[in-house]
């Protein structure tokens, strides 16, 4: 492969020629003009100089006739090329090329070859390294800023696949699919390098881009970055919202997200109403703290250490409404250190309940399920682990229990 660097000088004459050709052929081909009409394409066309993935073209077949055809194709501008390929598919051969222009284009193309070669080699493992591919690269380079680059390449790929079926048809098709995917990835890398260099010369002759509304490359670059950010965030949200794996598309995803957030807010509202009706007690606090610890941390080691601060907390927070009989119970509950597994199940059940539409009955049923679970596990755990409970913990708990009782009495 050639290892020259593409200079804008080499590209400019080509662009000038192709400009003329483009205008000429534009008139003739205007009705057939394929319009991808997507700002996106033009945006990253604008960015990348060699977005026409040279790689893709590198893998084109070694059909000798293809070289000629490629030469002819290169005479036309990028926009035209797409149209042309469409036409040529049907007609079989592009016969509208003015030979003189074509020759000139060929010369310029040859100059481009030097520079283009390196791009092709740099990218992927190209199986084909013949003049046809080099020509293809040169074509690619010229077309890079065109709005319909993507379309063109796909059409080109198809076209070439059809034409060279005898030689390497299947290979090409496979390859054409693959490079397309990589185009997006590579475009950006290249675009940043060369976008500034070769975009300006092309601006003149590619009127398509202006029509699409893409003012400058920096804008489209920024837009592309922003769009990628948004898609990234959408993916994050997809992971967060349950059951959104199958949904593709921003609008539907957005609806799902909105529904999810609305459902959560409604649940908070509903639960706050429910909590308002419940009569709280001292034990309530301790149990909750304890369960929350285990629920959210799911760690066994910290239980014993966390018992102390919890008890301190409960002692400091003064509820005044419960009877004294309640106080020993929470502490025995607290002794159930080994409940983290049960709490994990509790958590999962609660989570499922959270996802479901909150209705009183549903919640009641799930809560009762949870309670049953709790009861069984708790009983077994209490019996088994009461002895396991650290001795330091037990006396302190009882002490705290006694401490809190007088507190309560005082408060009342």
């Amino acid at each position: 492969m050639n290892c020259g660097t593409p200079s804008p000088d080499q590209l400019r004459p080509a662009s000038g020629l192709s400009n003329f050709n483009w205008n000429q052929s534009m008139d003739s081909l205007s009705p057939i003009f394929p319009l991808p009409a997507s700002g996106e394409i033009s945006s990253f066309m604008g960015n990348s100089l060699n977005s026409m993935h040279v790689n893709r073209l590198v893998q084109f077949p070694t059909d000798p006739g293809f070289a000629e055809r490629a030469a002819r194709y290169s005479c036309f501008s990028s926009a035209n090329y797409g149209a042309f390929s469409g036409i040529s598919e049907s007609s079989g051969k592009p016969s509208r090329v003015s030979s003189s222009h074509c020759l000139k284009a060929k010369d310029s193309r040859v100059q481009l070859e030097m520079g283009d070669g390196e791009f092709g080699s740099g990218k992927e493992d190209s199986s084909v390294t013949d003049p046809a591919s080099v020509l293809g690269e040169s074509i690619a380079k010229k077309r890079k800023a065109a709005a319909k680059r993507k379309l063109k390449v796909t059409v080109e790929n198809d076209l070439i696949a059809k034409k060279s079926r005898s030689t390497e048809s299947t290979e090409i098709e496979k390859d054409s699919i693959m490079p397309k995917e990589e185009q997006n990835v590579d475009e950006k890398k290249q675009g940043k390098d060369d976008g500034a260099k070769a975009s300006e010369p092309f601006k003149d002759y590619i009127h398509v881009r202006a029509r699409r509304g893409q003012a400058t490359d920096s804008h489209s670059l920024a837009e592309r970055v922003r769009r990628e950010k948004i898609s990234q965030r959408m993916k994050l949200l997809q992971d967060l919202v349950p059951g959104c794996n199958k949904i593709t598309g921003k609008a539907l995803m957005l609806d799902e997200i909105i529904n999810y957030v609305q459902a959560l807010q409604r649940q908070v509202e509903f639960l706050s109403m429910k909590l308002a009706t419940v009569n709280p007690g001292l034990d309530f606090n301790l149990e909750n703290l304890f369960s929350k610890e285990s629920l959210l941390n799911q760690e066994n080691a910290s239980f014993s250490s966390s018992l102390y601060p919890m008890e301190n907390l409960s002692a400091s927070i003064n509820f005044g409404h419960q009877s004294n009989e309640e106080s020993p119970i929470p502490f025995t509950l607290a002794n159930g250190i080994d409940t983290h597994c049960s709490i994990g199940q509790l958590d999962s059940i609660l989570h499922q309940a959270a996802i479901m539409q909150s209705s009183l009955d549903m919640f009641g049923s799930s809560a009762s399920q949870v309670e049953n679970l709790w009861d069984d596990e708790l009983n077994t755990v209490l019996q088994s682990s009461f002895g396991q409970n650290q001795e330091i913990g037990a006396p302190s708990q009882s002490f705290h229990g006694q401490l809190s009782i007088p507190h309560m009495k005082i408060e009342l």
Partner: protein, 149 residues
């Protein structure tokens, strides 16, 4: 400020327990101050407490936390600005504006930022829901025990 200490180095448990802690504390306070008779007021207060505890546990760099805490301050001073919302409500109908209205503080953010905030907000919201649910469960549990005894 007392917190439930964990021996783990993972910051998330601390944050989650912070949320729990805040919520339970404010719940306790509410239970003390507001009588059971004023149910509506109580439920409103609990709802507010839920959001505030969420905001307190989350990073203050977030827009939604600032919005919630700002709302709380305004409420405290008795000057809740409801007027602004009525102006803006039906201004522009974009696909995003529903989400903007849902997420607190989401009115003046570009879409990119809004999505970020939504991720964070939804996370904390789901945590809060879990906390509240388990509180309710515990309550029922303790009541059951009480009845047994």
């Amino acid at each position: 400020m007392k917190q439930n200490k964990n021996t783990s180095s993972n910051p998330n448990p601390r944050k989650a327990s912070m949320q729990t802690y805040h919520f339970l504390r404010s719940l306790a306070h509410i239970n003390l101050t507001t009588p059971l008779s004023a149910l509506h007021r109580r439920s409103r207060a609990i709802r507010r407490a839920a959001y505030v505890s969420m905001a307190r546990a989350a990073s203050p760099r977030r827009m939604w936390t600032r919005a919630i805490l700002g709302r709380l301050q305004l409420l405290r001073r008795g000057r809740l600005l409801r007027r602004q919302r009525s102006y803006k409500k039906k201004a522009i109908s974009t696909p995003h504006d529903k989400l903007r209205r849902l997420v607190p503080g989401g009115e003046e953010m570009d879409f990119c930022r809004l999505l970020e905030e939504t991720v964070d907000y939804a996370e904390f919201l789901s945590k809060q829901v879990r906390i509240m649910e388990s509180v309710v469960v515990m309550e029922a549990e303790s009541k059951k025990k009480e009845e047994k005894v």
